[in-house]
Amino acid sequence: MTARPLLSVENLVVRYGAVTALHGVGLQVGAGEAVALLGANGAGKSTLMKALIGLMPAAAGRILLDGRPIQALPADRRARLGIGYCPEGRRVFPGLTVRENLLVACWGNAALRRQRLESAYALFPALAEFRGSLAWQLSGGQQQMLTIARSLMDAPRLLLLDEPSLGLSPRLTDEVLDRIPAILAGGTAVLLAEQNATKALAVAGRGILFARGRVAAAGTAAELAASRDLHAAFLGG
């Protein structure tokens, strides 16, 4: 990759008290790419996502967004710099309507807000139908769509998608992951953390395999899907 990568993580170390969750992780995401972060639960994928957006502090290492170090910035600053975050567990704002959930994440004037709302409804038509409903009333799949749409409302350059399939039926997972090409086409790179390796590699161009807080393997989607490392890493736990 000759151009400077959009996201560059160097030797990132993250700790939970005395336990080290990430041991010097390094990876890169280029603009316009979709990269899948794979690995079993407890491997460190969600921890990495939280550290990238700033909800968890980094004990050591650097995070560079377009060459600029951001590991010392608070989460709200990083969001405004162009990182969208879609947390695991469908964390909508339950007492706000669908429309309000989308609006709070949009930082621009009224015209921009209208435009972005339309894009969100175009990406997930079901949301348009329920735009006036309170978010707690939506089904799990609708809530997941809402969290993704919300994280795109500030037109981020990078979207961190944390385990979108958790708690969703296989069919809904497909529906949700099928949107990723459209998101890429809109100019947002995607880092997708997923337990479901098969489905993730179907939408991503590259994959990174995590095990026990370290990068265990990396390669194109096809390479990883075929490799033995994938199976070994899962069984090794």
Binding site: G42, T198, L235
Partner: protein, 599 residues
């Protein structure tokens, strides 16, 4: 016993924490300083004793049950008023008035407590605040009885069995004798299974009910005990100072009680006593504070709740534990426990028929029926919102069905409370392992063995050995679930796979015949999943009926004997796994078609 005195002292510190040195210091002070103390010092210490009793009582409702009751001061005031009025109207001495002084606050707590204890914190706090305000206003209004805003003076002092206690020292000793007795009772009740049950109630109230703990009764018990202690404190107080005034019903008393609990300790007896002495003595040590003692309390309360929220004694114990780590306790030998009391393979254990449950306008369950037989594993799948968890919640008693029946071993259980249903033999786990984080894995499992044996009188008669039997059985279950290595680890530190296994062990400890597991494979890697699958099959083979809710088809399909798919509250397919997974309706609603990787 061999060992130097310093080793013995270290052992004492390690076991009892800061309480032992504090008690020792108190005894020294009592022996050498007290006989020469002035009347004034003795009087302040007497008042400190009454507040110690108040704080000890508060420890039941606030410390053990975790409910912020703002009526504790009011109960003390009621006790004071009863004793004072009985003294002035009928010449009743202290001990004759005592039963009513304790009884009336307890009665008030009973009447008010039953409906308000189940409320969440913000409502419960308001309810207790209002009770306090009403009692104060009535006391001020009802001048003929209470002396109104001026109160009543000339209350006779303490007396026992007809012997008046003239000297201040004797009064002090009587008050502190009550403190010792009250403290001993509180300590005894808290260290057995009752203390553990309260810890589960605080940490995971829903899970507590799911393992058979009657949380409503336990909360009420704590509230009644707190009222009783407060009544005793009030009657001692009014006799000790000789004046009855509506100040005793005012909010400053509650603030003092709260400050003592926060500064000293919410739960520990030594903390309540230390806190009371410190806080009541404070205006005496710092004379300039005398007029502004409430200002000082406010500042201290703020400082302590921000900086040392657990209070002085627990923080001191924590430091002590770091300096002198307590000796590791030996693991109990596992006692084998047959899982099922009456193996019932093939017998229909659970019959659900036409179950309907609405929330607002949504029918979460719209006529669901299923049967479950002993020895079989039933899988429950379906999209989010299809009603899977609602079904489990209705069967376990968290919600009443709007229509339909639930029969367990032939008996209609719809509408029974969750803890009753758990004791009848239906156990469940939750989507996120709902273990009490500060208790060890062993304690979490052992309390489920004992849930049906909790109660005030049992706790009173209990001995140290009672926990041993339950712990041995719990150990056996942990061994069975291969989590024995983590038995003494605090449940909050367990890795998700282990926590899941401990939670299943806890569910098994209830001795169920039906086990309902909610997404047990979530958070487990493939090896752990295969292991869990094997264990569940073994448990089923002994006659247990198991229901597993899951999204993870590779885990579920080989495990189950039958599969049921829900969608929008209805059963859309039921039968053998292969048949259900290839059912077009199920594919449409839930499974989707498999995708391949782009080259």
């Amino acid at each position: 016993m061999s060992g130097t005195p310093s080793q013995g002292f270290a052992r004492l510190l390690a076991r009892g924490g800061i309480a032992a040195p504090l008690a020792f210091a108190a005894l020294l002070w009592a022996a050498f300083v007290l006989p020469h103390a002035s009347d004034y010092v003795v009087r302040v210490l007497t008042v400190a004793g009454t507040y110690a009793l108040l704080a000890l009582g508060f420890g039941f409702v606030f410390g053990q049950a975790g409910a912020l009751s703002l009526a504790q001061g009011t109960f003390m005031g009621v006790g004071a008023y009863v004793s004072g009025i009985m003294a002035v109207r009928w010449g009743a001495p202290f001990d004759a008035a005592l039963p009513a002084s304790i009884g009336l606050p307890v009665l008030l707590a009973l009447i008010a407590g039953v409906p308000v204890l189940r409320l969440q914190t913000h409502y419960f706090a308001l309810a207790t605040l209002l009770i306090g305000q009403v009692v104060l206003l009535i006391a001020v209004q009802w001048e003929s009885l209470t002396g109104g805003a001026n109160g009543i003076g000339g209350i006779p002092g303490l007396s026992l069995f007809g012997w008046p206690l003239h000297s201040r020292l004797a009064a002090l000793l009587l008050v502190w004798a009550f403190v010792a007795a009250g403290g001993l009772l509180a300590w005894h009740l808290g260290r057995g299974r009752l203390g553990i049950a309260y810890a589960v109630l605080r940490g995971q109230p829903v899970a507590a009910r799911a393992i058979g703990i009657d949380t409503g009764t336990l909360r009420l018990l704590a509230f009644l005990l707190s009222a009783g202690y407060a009544g005793l404190a009030g009657s001692l107080y009014v006799r000790a100072i000789g004046v009855l005034s509506p100040d005793i019903l005012g909010f400053p008393v509650m603030v003092t009680c709260l400050t003592i609990a926060v500064v000293g300790s919410r739960r520990r007896v030594s903390g309540a006593i230390l806190g009371a002495v410190l806080i009541v003595e404070l205006p005496e040590w710092a004379r300039f504070l005398r007029d502004d003692y409430l200002l000082a309390y406010g500042c201290i309360l703020l400082l302590v709740i921000v900086a040392i929220p657990e209070g002085l004694t627990e923080t001191a114990d924590r430091w002590l534990a770091r300096l002198l780590p307590p000796p590791p306790r030996p693991l109990p030998a596992p006692a084998p426990l047959p899982l099922i009391s009456a193996p019932a393979r093939g017998e229909t254990l659970l019959e659900v028929s036409g179950l309907v449950r609405r929330f607002g306008g949504v029918r979460a369950l719209d006529g669901v029926s299923l049967d479950l037989r002993g020895g079989e594993v039933l899988g429950l799948i379906g999209p989010n919102g299809s009603g899977k968890t609602t079904l489990v919640n209705v069967v376990t008693g968290i919600f009443r069905p709007d229509a339909g029946t639930v029969r367990f071993a032939g008996r209609d259980i719809a509408g029974l409370t969750p803890h009753r249903i758990a004791r009848l033999g239906i156990a469940r786990t939750f989507q996120t392992a709902a273990l009490a984080p500060d208790l060890s894995a062993l304690e979490n499992v052992a309390i489920a063995r004992d849930a049906a044996r909790l109660g005030f009188w049992r706790a009173l008669r209990a001995r140290g050995a009672e926990k041993a039997a339950a712990e041995a059985e719990a150990m056996g279950l942990l061994v069975r679930m291969d989590a024995a290595a983590y038995a003494l680890a605090p449940a909050g530190t367990l890795p998700p796979g282990i926590a899941r296994r401990v939670e299943i062990a806890r569910a098994l400890a209830v001795r169920p015949r039906v086990l309902l597991l909610d997404e047990p494979a979530a958070g487990l890697n493939e090896e752990e999943q295969a292991d869990l699958s094997r264990r569940l099959r073994t448990i089923a083979a002994e006659g247990m009926a198991i229901v597993v809710i899951e999204h993870n088809m590779p885990f579920l399909a080989p495990l189950v004997d039958r599969l049921i798919c829900l969608d929008r509250g209805r059963v859309i397919a039921a039968g053998l796994p292969d048949a259900v997974t290839s059912d077009p309706q199920v594919i449409e609603a839930y499974l989707g078609t498999p995708r391949t990787v782009q080259a």
